[in-house]
């Protein structure tokens, strides 16, 4: 079996750089050919100089968004893990909560953003809550799936060893489900920034989402694009770090090459 991994370090760095270069060239070509006004689509050079000139401002807002995303990720992943473990232990709980959990997914998280801002205010809390909400379900459902699909032989061994259910869950089902859990966490790492930025759009005085709206309102489209680039770099970085941690966890579990 091939080692299972879709994390960033496996994509060669030069391939990423080359892809970026192609994108920038196409972007520049579009600007030249269409002669579009710079307040509609600024060229790469204008965006780059906005990025450099306003770096302190962008950095400040990037840090705020990064905190929201990281805290949201940690809380959302923890809540997802605890929910999946408890639902695995209790069949009644599963019957009671699973339908509600699935139903809740029909509500777009984005539609909740104004409510969260109303309840939790304009500060970090409402953005973190958005990130948590968007992260929670994929982590819960992938981990729950993994916990339910423990190799049967392991459970046979646990049964003949008279293992209490809780020990079987924590010492066998949990480690055996690490690959499923990490695929949920990898998804979460990409979703969490979306949640945070949407929270910032609805109402905030800090963060990259706020900066983008502000720049847009003042027709500083180059700054808006620069903020977008910062958001891209932030997401890719978080995804890469989470990817590395997940790779380590899967390697530790040994479940990828049994």
């Amino acid at each position: 079996m091939k080692p299972r991994s879709d994390s960033l370090p496996l994509i060669r760095v030069w391939e990423v750089l080359f892809a970026c270069l192609v994108m920038i060239l196409v972007w520049q070509a579009v600007v030249w050919v269409t002669q579009v006004e710079s307040f509609i689509l600024p060229g790469p050079w204008a965006v780059a100089s906005a990025f450099v000139n306003q770096f302190a401002l962008i950095w400040h807002h990037t840090l705020i968004t990064a905190v929201e995303v990281m805290v949201g990720l940690v809380l959302g992943v923890t809540a997802g893990i605890l929910t999946a473990l408890n639902l695995t232990m209790s069949e009644r709980g599963r019957k009671l909560i699973m339908p509600a959990l699935v139903m809740s997914q029909t509500i777009p998280v984005f539609a909740l953003a104004p409510l969260l801002t109303l309840w939790l205010g304009y500060g970090l809390a409402s953005k973190i809550a958005m990130a948590v909400l968007i992260v929670y379900f994929p982590v819960t459902s992938t981990f729950l799936d993994g916990l339910a699909n423990t190799p049967k032989g392991y459970l046979d061994i646990a049964h003949t060893m008279r293992s209490p259910n809780r020990s079987t869950l924590m010492q066998i089902r949990f480690p055996a489900a690490v690959p499923s859990l990490t695929s949920g966490i990898r998804l979460a790492a990409v979703y969490a920034p979306i949640g945070a930025v949407i929270g910032e759009w609805v109402g905030a005085s800090n963060g990259l989402g706020y900066l983008m709206l502000l720049a847009n309102g003042r027709v500083k489209i180059d700054l808006m694009f620069a903020a977008l680039v910062a958001l891209c770099i932030l997401t890719v970085t978080i995804r890469a770090i989470i990817g590395l941690i997940c790779d380590r966890a899967v390697k530790w579990s040994g479940m990828n090459n049994r």
Binding site: Y154, T160, S163, S253
Partner: protein, 243 residues
């Protein structure tokens, strides 16, 4: 160390078993001699493992009506150790942690002296902190044997534990298992006639839901097969299996 000190019970299984209304075996009678090896022999898919899983109290997917009882009238449940064809070592644990898995699951204090002794006995002392992924198939099966011995149960159920090994390693494992599992009531499920003859005190040949019983002369450890009496039993068992 080795066998538990109280008297080793035998085991008797009788009854019938069916898969979704279709009988797999009816009127079955299987008796494990106390403190010795019984082999259950038959071709693949005939239901040998199902019988073993029944005794182990594991999920079989069918329904059994009858009785499974130990000769000392104590419950069978909780006095059985189980070893399967695949070693079923947990890949995230080291050799040492795998050997002590039972105690760790039951949250019992670990008997470090016994763990080290058993690991030494199966010859894995140099690999004590290695994970199963770093071991060969034979070494993994030896680790699984140590884990089985660690459980210290009077009844040991072996479901083709050596069938995935190469012939040389298989013979070594047979000798090791035979010496370490002396004085235990062992049921070995196998499709290898030579293996059954080498290890069994009693052999059940299984064909079409029927069991035929063959008792072999007592023997200290692994039996050699070049004896003329063995040839005779061999051909008789073959005729049952071919029926």
């Amino acid at each position: 160390m080795g066998a538990p000190d109280h008297a080793i019970p035998g085991l008797r299984l009788s009854g019938e078993f069916s898969y979704s209304e279709r009988p797999l075996f009816s009127d079955l009678m299987l008796e494990l001699l106390p403190g010795s090896w019984t082999c259950l022999l038959g071709s693949s898919g005939i239901g040998k493992s199902t019988l073993l899983r029944l005794i182990a109290g594991l999920e079989t997917g069918g329904s059994f009506s009858g009785s499974i009882s130990a000769s000392d009238n104590l419950p069978v449940d909780g006095r059985v150790a189980y070893m399967a064809q695949s070693d079923l070592l947990l890949p995230w644990l080291t050799v040492r942690q795998n050997v002590s898995l039972g105690a760790s699951l039951r949250r019992e204090p670990l008997d470090h002296v016994k763990i080290d002794h058993l690991i030494h006995r199966v010859g894995l002392e140099e690999y004590i902190s290695n994970k199963p992924g770093e071991l060969s198939g034979g070494m993994r099966q030896r680790c699984a044997l140590a884990r089985t011995l660690m459980e210290d149960t009077p009844l040991v159920l072996l479901d083709e534990p050596f069938s995935a090994l190469d012939p040389v390693t298989r013979r070594q494992m047979q000798a090791l298992a035979s010496s370490t599992l002396q004085n235990r009531t062992v049921l070995l499920v196998t499709h290898d006639l030579a293996e059954a003859l080498r290890l069994g005190r009693r052999i059940y040949a299984m064909s079409q839901g029927k069991l035929e019983e063959f008792d072999l002369p007592a023997c200290r450890s692994v039996r050699e097969l070049d004896d003329p009496a063995m040839m005779d039993i061999q051909s008789r068992i073959f005729s049952v299996l071919n029926a």
